[in-house]
Amino acid sequence: MKKRLKDKLILFISLVLISTIACEQLDEDYNKSSFKNPIRIGVIANVSIGREIAENIFFAVKMAADEINQKGGIDIDGEKRKFELIFKDSEGNPKTGIKIVNELIERKVDIIIGPTTSAVAVEMTQLCIDNNILMMTYSATIPEISILEDEDLIWRTCPSDAFSGRIMAQYSIDSLQYMNGAILYRNDNFGVSMANIIQERFESLGGSIVAKSYYPTNGVDISNYNYDDEINYLLEYEPQIIFLAIFEEEVSKITQDLWYSNFYQDYNTKPTLFLTEGAFPKELLSNGQPEVLETIIGISSSTTNTQNYSAYKSNYAEKYGFDPATYSEHAYDALYSIAYAIQKAQSVNPEDLKQKLRNVTKDTSPNHEDIIINVNEFDKAIVLINSGVEINYNGASGKIDFDENGDPNSTFVIWGLENDKYKEISYYNR
């Protein structure tokens, strides 16, 4: 009898032991935050151009929101309000863009940060204007956004292609001394617009665009598309430089197809490839055709040699374990600009925010007494704003300085790849 009891006891103890340890560890937890009376921000990115690109945007805005929320949020009339982010994917499709803006309106967002691409941004703007939603894009660079009749509701922290395209053309002629070029571009709003800007400026400076070629973006797998025809067409005209108005998802395949082109192999001096703005360097170093990399240069509105960018990059790397990609700093600055404007306006109403956005990002005082606020200086900024002192937020992407169109006054950098490393070559002001 005693033996049976011991047997049962062993069984019972074993079961209890295993069950106790197991149960504690086997609950699901989605870790979704909820705040009382939050400031709702819709964040839109285009995952189809590359998941890691879109996530970099999300991560940057989230980092900004976390930094602010951890310090209590924004004080509006004595109430501490935190940022709640709602992330959405536009799929790079204008129709989807409209759909998700409607979803965000239904969820009562106060402000929208995004979208990524110009084609989606152009379609979204009217809906935002109609619904009195302030929209701030971080990478839609099409010039048309600057001249919209937008009731001051459409903003961006990235500069217009009108500036970057002109600088590309100017740099090619002034610094590289190339007089004949070609253009390969996406057949979408961004690509067509950018190609026209480059051509106009290049030719106005005495150069000649000897050939232009485009490829479809709808209904094709852009990262596996065969670019042979488009590339060979351009190469037949022996351009010294090829401007590429493209996105990250196709850049590596283009370098591969270029390398396999017999025309390209026949060139004694390979043509320089000049990339428009985008998150290219990491993608090229990982997936681009290695033999082509040293012929590539590009333009970016993110200067990485500033203290603010270094601070941002350091914070980002510490939080996420990897370095940020291009445009994420523009997204980060979008939230901070909005945060300071809300703090100053003591409101999330777009009508109240419009002028405050300019106030907090540029030197507006007659005697140039605005205090510059850098990255990591949120506490200082709040104290100053609450004390009635004018601030001038200089962000991770550099000087913001919103103009009358809601465009930033950015600095550009020409970059290249040397020994498998990113290198900044030259700087231009807008």
Binding site: K3, K6, D7, I10, L11, S14, L15, L17, I18, S19, I21, A22, C23, Q25, L26, D27, E28, D29, Y30, N31, K32, V47, G50, R51, E52, A54, E55, N56, F58, F59, K62, F87, K88, D89, E91, D221, S223, N224, N226, E248, S252, K253, Q256, W259, Y260, K282, E283, S286, N287, G288, Q289, P290, Y320, G321, F322, D323, P324, A325
Partner: protein
């Protein structure tokens, strides 16, 4: 189709009936033909749990056994199919290779059964470049298998790396046990012809025992269409696999020379060929031009002897190698002017020594040392264009690298009463094992195992076990370059995955003809390696030690012989939580993907001596499971970590009618069988990894003919 099926049944039964009448055999002798089916699984000796012969109730592990009788009578055509009948195992496929999941965890993208260690008579048979185990018919001709010993739980304390969540040890027959035969099956899969031919031959002459077996099959799984992720419409119903074939070839040879004075010398040899036009891989789906061809094999010489009646010694040396065959073509896109070729290979030398000093029948001490050198040519992909220019894709490294591993282990099995003065400990046997591995790439790993087996009664015992294990990063995971931009790349910073498991089991007989094997377990895995979608500053899919897994479950097996029936019933339930850091949500805890929470598996063989036949029915209910991360990203690109879809549950029923040994050829016997898989024609899906899930097969037919010589 139904009419054809009916005719086939009538033909088959007529054959049995006619043959039965002509033989005029009495029922009692026919019963003897099934004697092997009625063997008591509790009495089957297994060797894999501690490298010592033990029966299931004594073994310090959770053990299941599939015998050669069960393989034959249930009509299994591969090791994977046999394992799919076991509690706690879930086999999915992409029609290139089966992928075995175990206890709530599946290796996921490009993992083909790499969570377990698979061995033939103790020899590791994984494709070492990737640590994948190919469980299709290429692994070994099934007619040479004596039994499959299946251990769930960690066993790195004995077997070192990759004995992570389980061990599958395939024990081969002796030549003297083999019935020489030639088998052929002809089948219909989705209106495509499939066939197999296999042979086994064995014999013994004085001190020499020889067994040879071979198997070649062709499976044609063409005509099926990828199942879209809910909400997407990437594939339409006209987009079908046009060339989804697999042609596995396997050859096995074993020579054993035994003398009383000088011990046993064994030479064994195994070659596996995989040749598959896979259409459902995560790359190159439906390009119709893929051909994956691999060769792997080993040759081993081993020596064993017992000195002084109680000092057993084993010594072995093996040479193994694996590489693609020249006709391999990887076509990842629709561009016919370019394709991909790969280079990957390994040549390995395994040296092993172990000895056991047995104090008596129970108490013993074992010591072992092994040294392995894997000479890897790391996986790299080349793009080839129509003019034959072959360019190494970015990230590839050329040249060879040695992976060297030294392992030392000790194990002690002893009766607790030998050390402690308590009478009731007489029925308690303790096992303590310890193993140290040193690897030149990823460093030191220490594993141990403790087990207590308490005999409650004869053929009834309870076990409490705790052990650790590890899964080493493979050469492919560490160093591969990509097939195409954005594809999978290696990560040289990977660390081994580590697991620790606590298990309790109750094993034994309920009644004379009913036995059971039930256990509960709890496993924690640290540093689980996952293939992550492009993230951060990495634009490619890459492997990373990224998560922890907590898994608990219960597994219950029941085997019974009732009248003319031999039946089994298995149930397993698991709950596994994956803990990872999601950059947007921070640390989250979610259910693991790809594995069903509930599985019920059953089978019954009904012997019909009067009709010289048996009918085998097997079924399995697989509950819903969460789709792969890669597909959930299509489903919800933002919250794919937590907003996930589930693949529907399904129930599959297989039926097989077999003859007893009938006489068609003079002085030799013949067996016939007809197997219908998925007789209910259930529509179901396996998890996929590239925008779609993989459709399961509908009703399929196999007619098998075995002629004994």
């Amino acid at each position: 189709m139904r009419t054809k099926l009916g005719y086939l049944f009538i033909f088959f039964f007529s054959l049995f009936t006619f043959n039965g009448l002509s033989q005029n055999t009495d029922t009692s002798s026919t019963n003897a033909l099934f004697a092997l089916s009625l063997e008591d699984l509790m009495d089957v000796e297994i060797v894999s749990a501690s490298k010592r012969n033990q029966n299931i109730t004594d073994a310090p592990s959770i053990v299941s056994v599939i015998t050669e009788t069960q393989i034959r009578e249930r009509g299994y055509s591969s090791i994977a199919e046999a394992l799919n009948s076991v509690a706690g195992f879930d086999v999915i496929t992409d029609y290139y290779q089966p992928n075995l999941g175990i206890r709530g965890i599946n290796g996921g993208l490009r993992s083909w059964s790499r969570l377990v260690k698979v061995m033939i008579d103790g020899q590791n048979v994984s494709f070492r470049s990737s640590s994948d185990n190919f469980l299709d018919p290429s692994l070994i001709p099934l007619n040479v298998v004596e039994k499959i010993e299946i251990i769930r739980g960690p066993n790195s304390a004995i077997y070192g790396k990759n004995a992570f969540l389980g061990v599958i040890n395939i024990i081969t027959k002796k030549g003297s046990e083999v019935e020489n035969s030639i088998s052929h099956f002809l089948g219909n899969i989705n209106n495509n012809t499939t066939f197999n031919i296999s042979t086994v031959w064995g014999g013994t002459n004085k001190n020499l025992d020889i067994v040879f077996a071979s198997s070649y099959s062709q499976f044609d799984y063409s005509g099926i269409t990828p199942s879209n992720v809910p909400g997407s419409s990437i594939y339409n119903s006209n987009e079908k696999a046009l060339k989804n074939e697999s042609n596995p070839l396997s050859v096995y040879l074993k020579l054993k020379y035994k003398t009383d004075s000088s011990g046993i010398i064994t030479l064994d040899f195994n070659q596996q060929h995989i040749n598959s036009t896979a259409e459902f891989l995560d790359w190159g789906t439906l390009t119709h031009n893929n051909r994956l061809s691999l060769f792997k094999g080993y040759e081993r010489i081993s020596y064993s002897n017992t000195f002084f009646n109680n000092f057993e010694t084993n010594l072995s040396f093996a040479h193994t190698m694996g590489k693609p065959i020249k006709n391999e073509i990887l076509d990842n896109d629709s561009d016919p002017t370019e394709w991909i070729e790969r280079e990957v290979s390994y040549t390995s030398y395994d040296f092993g020594f172990n000895s056991t000093y047995a104090f008596d029948n129970i108490n013993n001490f074992s010591f072992g040392i092994d040294y392995t050198t894997d000479i890897h040519d790391h996986q790299k992909f080349y793009t080839v264009n129509s003019t034959g220019i072959r360019t190494l894709n970015p990230g590839g490294t050329e040249g060879y690298e040695n992976f060297n591993n030294l392992g030392i282990y000790m194990q002690m099995i002893f009766n607790a009463a030998e050390f402690f003065a308590f009478d009731y400990l007489e029925n308690l046997t303790l096992t303590a094992g310890y193993r140290f591995d040193y690897h030149n790439i990823y460093g030191d790993v220490l594993n141990y195992r403790l087990a207590a087996v308490y005999h409650i009664a004869d053929k009834l015992s309870t076990k409490l076990m705790y052990g650790t294990s590890f899964n080493a990063p493979s050469s492919v995971q560490l160093y591969s370059n990509y097939i195409s931009p954005g594809g999978i790349v290696g990560n040289p910073n990977l660390r081994p995955e580590r697991a620790k498991t606590l298990e309790w089991a109750l094993v034994g007989k309920l009644l004379k003809d009913i036995n059971f094997n039930t256990n509960v377990y709890y496993t924690e895995i640290d540093d689980k390696i996952e293939y992550l979608l492009p993230y951060g500053d990495i634009p490619n899919i890459s492997a990373k030690n990224v998560s922890n897994i907590y898994s608990a479950g219960i597994e219950a097996e029941l085997n019974a012989n009732i009248g003319n029936n031999t039946a089994y019933l298995n149930y397993s339930y698991e709950r596994s939580i994956l803990e990872k850091n999601d950059p947007i949500l921070d640390q989250i805890r979610i259910k693991t993907a790809l594995y069903p929470s509930h599985m019920i598996k059953f089978g019954n063989i009904l012997y019909l001596p009067r009709f010289y036949s048996s009918i085998n029915i097997e079924g399995r209910y697989i509950s819903s499971r969460i789709a792969s991360d890669q597909n959930n990203f299509i489903y919800d690109p933002i919250e794919y970590s937590i907003n996930r879809y589930e693949i529907d549950p399904y129930f599959i029923l297989d039926v097989m009618i077999s003859s007893t040994d009938i006489k068609i050829v003079k002085n030799s016997k013949t067996k016939l069988s007809l197997k219908i898989q998925n007789v209910l024609d259930t529509e179901f899906n396996y998890p996929g990894f590239n925008n779609y899930d993989i459709p399961g097969l509908g009703r399929t037919f196999y007619f098998k003919f075995t002629q004994y010589i």
